[in-house]
């Protein structure tokens, strides 16, 4: 008999608390700043951590609270700085910011052992390959996060600047007077 009452009491308690928590979650929801969402959407989203924050969302939160400068994101480049400055209403001297040279990973075919470690860590599935087969990087999908370079046991993965072709060649900025 004791067993039965214990089961009934604990079950009803569980149900009650569950419903209470459900209602609380709906009505007492903590609204997050929509600005954070907007900024997070603007950021590259690769969670690379180059800004010193654990990911793009924490970085966006720091930006909104004013703890981080708008120039924090190296992969975002000048374009992101300009958009952030506009959103947050900050003045920023854009003439000093410089875009990073775009880099992509490339597999050196002589030293690749086909160990598969690199494509397991690639966040964008930019590396293709199979065990004991030479791997290859799909340059269009590579975001230059260098995660594969770190795990490669033979150092056959190296970062190279994006190859300049007629399609992506652009006029350089004129030298200032």
């Amino acid at each position: 008999m004791y067993v039965l009452s214990a089961i009934v009491i604990l079950t009803s308690l569980g149900l009650l608390l569950g419903v209470a928590l459900g209602i609380a979650a709906k009505y007492l929801k903590v609204e997050s700043d929509p600005l954070i969402e907007t900024i997070e959407a603007l950021m590259p989203g690769s969670q690379c951590g180059q800004c010193g924050f654990p990911g793009c969302r924490p970085a966006a939160e720091a930006l909104v609270s004013g703890a981080a400068p708008v120039t924090l994101c190296p992969p975002g480049g000048t374009s992101l700085v300009e958009q952030l400055a506009k959103l947050l209403g900050v003045d920023v001297d854009l003439s000093q910011t410089q875009d990073q040279e775009a880099m992509v990973a490339r597999v050196s075919e002589e030293t690749c052992t086909g160990c598969t470690r690199c494509f397991k860590v690639c966040p964008t599935d930019a590396i293709v390959g199979a065990p004991k087969q030479i791997h290859a990087v799909v340059a269009d999908a590579c975001i230059g996060c260098k995660k594969c370079v770190e795990v490669c046991p033979t150092e056959c993965l190296q970062m190279h600047p994006v190859e300049v072709t007629l399609r992506n060649w652009r006029w350089p900025k004129p030298l200032a007077a």
């Binding site: 690769s46 854009l94 966040p123 964008t124 999908a141 007629l166 060649w169 007077a177």
Partner: protein, 500 residues
Amino acid sequence: MFALFENPRLRGGIHAEEHKSETSPLSIATDFPLPKKLYIPVQQHVGKPAEPVVKVGEKVLKGQLLAYSQGTISAPVHAPTSGVIADVKDFPAPHPSALPIRTVVIESDGKEQWAELIVPEDPFQLEPEEICQRVGAAGVVGLGGAVFPSAVKLSLGRKNKIHTLLINAGECEPYLTCDDRLMQERAEQIVAGIRLMLRGMDAPKALVGIEDNKPEAFAAMQAASQSFANIVVAQVPTRYPMGWDRQMLRYLTGQEIPADGRATDIGVVVHNVATAFAVYQAICLGQPLISRVVTVSGAAVAKPRNVEVPIGTLMSEVLAFCGLEKSKMARLVMGGPMMGDALPIAEVPVVKACNGILALSAADIDEPAVQPCIRCSSCVTACPVGLLPLEMASRIKANQLDSAVDLGLKDCISCGSCSYVCPSNIPLVHYFKFASGELVKRQQAEHKSEQTKRLIEDRNERMERARLEAEAEALRAQEARAARLAAAQQAQQAPAEETV
């Protein structure tokens, strides 16, 4: 004061030293020796590159298809002479970067043996669709410099109820006289081309605009078009950039194309005069676009002249034909001095877009030091679009591209009038070209970042699915093990019972 009201139909512009008299009195040289090797890039037009259909070692005839057009906005390329395909490889393009482009190399056999040409009995009885189709198959593209596939423009004209075909014979760039000579020598053929274009577009009338510094060409065109009431030849003032389609249209018709629109929006299609000649060749002679008239001029050229050269000829060979003095050449330019591109090397092929090869001397290009902007606003007066070049440049200098776009950066036509008049020698157009490229780069980066997000999400989803599957698998394995264990136990018990 009355100067203000003199020409309300013209805005901005400049009048640079013409340098046309060196080449305009001389007839087009047609005795250019056939080069041993021709280099034909598969992309000489706006749109998708053509796809080669020939193999290395294959024998080709003059006019034979080398690469077919890909998709709606593209154009084929043809063999400029008969010979053997020596290679299909990457070769420096006639571009300021001289980066490589896919190129078909032909070793000529010197026989100039034509492929079979299809010539209609009466070209002017062809159906409009047929004309467009033939023009497209002949690889005709806009020869004024924009190299947009002409057939696409003709079909577009047919769909959009065009009332006027504007033939742009402004040739406002200094030095260049290839269109001028073409009109003087081949006016009849050009007029035939215009009539074919009219038929191809179902348009009622054509208007030819010629700058008034080409009176002979004007007279020749007028004489050739006399018997056709629907072709009107008009003179326009000599003022760069008169050859900008919007400027010429505004002058001749008083109509203005909306900033974000096209000429077709107001019922006009604009074609270059050399394109009309290419259309004549394509339909009446059945010949694809495999040669063009190029102005070779500049102070470093001993015998400046207009030369008809096969597409794919190396510029160095054309320059040598006109007596280049190498030591005097300080800069090589493809096109006109205002909008042309400086090329780092002369070993690049002549392409469909190439209307001029200029070997300029140091005195021609005199580059004084850049000085700070004094806000004299000469550039504002010179801008034919009505922009504020000085403001735009200062924003771009400070990397504020968005604000430059707000000032109308995207409407800039890179005509170079502002840079030409600037007393401080600020490279204004260079700033605008840089900024336009940067905007494209940003757009691409944004696109990539969207794609990256999608890839990351896809991967995360897949990993989650794999994790769940692995869990389910582990659960199943556990159950199976338990079942096996139970079965084994049962089996153990059963024989035990039996023995009892």
